[in-house]
């Protein structure tokens, strides 16, 4: 939940910074601006610190060997050239970073002396190597600096966040009982509960509409092979939706949505479910029935206050109420036959019947039964009630 965010932050930030580091690295701050950077260097920096490029892809190798061949114009065996084309080219052009790793390893002590002096008289190869050296050194230095900076920054940020978080918790925790801190029973453990029994989520905001896919230009149409079933099925639906888009729009328009429940905290031990009336109206159910179900499911009690809000004993979050409401809808609102939420609930001889308005089916539903209620709190308080 919210407390996890600062934990995730550092790595993200670090990665971002590192990327910037790489981008400005190839030329470096004090690289010679008059000389254009060798083109081959680019590939190394993009790849990261892997300096030893060697022969890259087979495709590139082919191309390079072809170049070399055209330059040298000797027609020896091509395999040999494909393998060593890079090296040959390097000898000629002296720009290929083939053995940067090896060279820089051996020549580092020599070249470091030249670093401070702008090496203009040096050969091209020396320059190249120099460059790689500088890059390597700078990177490590920068990384160290950056780590410190980032660490300090994170420290400050996390401190600030902690302060901001603890403030409201203290503010609301200070008014009542001492035995309860500002911690909430979080709903994260609910993630592993069975999601399938909740049906589709009516609290989700509408927006994700299935798009009509293009038809008639599938690449497999021209091929001679047998079409597979999924391909044909896909094509069928594409054509169907293209021919009558009303099917598509009704499927998306019919989505049943309900405003998410608004939950407030009253004091420390009670939650207020503010828009219970609206939600009941939307579902075409008696508020009493819904409230009875809520209390039976959550194992608490409560009351309706003057403004029509539901006061629930215990601490509940919006997500939790939402889950219970979704289960209520699966059980008492959506038609089991046609999945339509357009149903009516009537009571006949103490048995509730649910009649569907759109398909006409009618079935009895279970009565709301609250199960075993364990003894919670003081016994003496319970004796009176």
């Amino acid at each position: 939940m919210a407390s996890e965010e600062p934990l995730f932050d550092p790595s993200l930030k670090k990665r971002k910074k590192k990327k910037v580091d790489f981008i400005e690295d190839p030329l470096g701050a004090d690289a010679d601006p008059t000389k254009p950077a060798p083109e081959t260097i680019d590939s190394t920096t993009i790849n990261g610190e892997a300096v030893d490029l060697g022969p890259t892809t087979a495709h590139e190798r082919m191309a390079q060997s072809g170049e070399a061949k055209s330059e040298k114009k000797d027609k020896e065996d091509e395999d040999f050239k494909a393998m060593f084309g890079d090296m040959k080219k390097k000898k000629k052009k002296k720009e290929i970073p083939l053995d940067f790793g090896d060279d820089s390893g051996t020549s580092t002590p020599l070249k470091t002396g030249e670093d401070g002096v702008p090496a203009e008289a040096a050969t091209i190869t020396a320059d190249d190597l120099d460059f790689s050296d500088m890059k390597k050194k700078k990177k490590s230095k920068k990384k160290a600096n950056f780590d410190l900076d980032a660490f300090e920054k994170e420290l400050n940020e996390s401190k600030a966040e902690d302060a901001a978080k603890s403030k409201p918790a203290k503010a609301e925790g200070g008014d009542e009982d001492e035995d309860e801190d500002g911690l909430e029973p979080d709903g994260s453990h609910l993630d592993n509960l069975d999601e399938s029994e909740l049906g589709e989520d009516p609290f989700a905001q509408p927006g994700d509409v299935p798009v009509g896919v293009d038809s008639g230009n599938e690449p497999w149409l021209k091929s001679d092979r047998d079409y597979t079933y999924p391909e044909l099925l896909h094509r069928f639906y594409a054509l169907l939706h293209a021919a009558n888009p009303s099917l598509l729009s009704t499927a998306s328009k019919k989505r049943y949505t309900i405003a998410p429940p608004q939950l407030f905290r009253e004091g420390n031990k009670k939650s207020i479910f503010a828009n219970v009336g609206d939600i009941c109206k939307k579902m075409h159910r008696q508020p009493e029935h819904v409230i009875q179900y809520l209390f039976a499911e959550m194992g608490t009690t409560g009351s309706v206050d003057g403004a029509g809000r539901l006061v629930i004993k215990g601490r509940f979050q919006q997500k939790q109420i939402e889950n219970v409401l979704r289960r209520y809808m699966v059980e008492y609102v959506t038609c089991k036959t046609c999945k339509s939420p357009d149903t009516l609930l009537t009571k006949e001889n103490r048995i509730f019947f649910m009649a569907c308005e759109s398909c006409g089916s009618r079935r009895s539903v279970n009565a709301i039964k609250s199960g075993f209620q364990a003894q919670v709190g003081k016994r003496s308080r319970n004796k009176t009630g």
């Binding site: 009982d177 035995d179 309860e180 801190d181 911690l183 909430e184 029973p185 709903g187 453990h189 609910l190 592993n192 509960l193 069975d194 031990k269 039976a296 499911e297 959550m298 194992g299 608490t300 215990g314 601490r315 509940f316 939790q320 109420i321 889950n323 219970v324 009895s364 279970n366 039964k369 199960g371 075993f372 209620q373 364990a374 919670v376 709190g377």
Partner: protein, 113 residues
């Protein structure tokens, strides 16, 4: 391989009451209910109610306590019969445990938020 259409099957034969063999149709008594109850703070209780009679609740409670590392008791209720009561939110664990040990998932009902 047999051709289904040529079978001598009378579709209009009286089949009898399809619900005859299961005596308690529509009743909720055959469900195993797992409920949760809030205590003070972020403490909770989990209750397990409606276990089939062939299971020894005492032994089950012992297994639960060991498996979930929590305490619990066996409560005798006049209406509900024996109820296993565990400390903390053990709903998902109980349901997984029961399914793992051969109970049908459709008979288990997990309540609560």
């Amino acid at each position: 391989m047999s051709v289904q259409n040529l079978n001598t099957f009378d579709p209009f034969a009286d089949e009898g009451d399809p619900l005859a063999e299961s005596a308690d149709v529509g009743s909720t008594s055959d469900y195993i209910h797992i409920r949760i109850q809030q205590r003070n703070g972020r403490k909770t209780l989990t209750t397990l109610q409606g276990l089939p009679k062939q299971y020894d609740q005492k032994k089950l409670l012992k297994a639960f306590k060991k498996e979930f590392a929590c305490n619990g008791t066996l409560v005798d209720d006049e209406k509900m019969g024996q109820v296993i009561q565990l400390q903390g939110d053990q709903r998902a664990k109980i349901s997984a445990f029961l399914v793992e040990n051969g109970l049908d998932k459709s008979t288990i009902k997990v309540h609560g938020f």
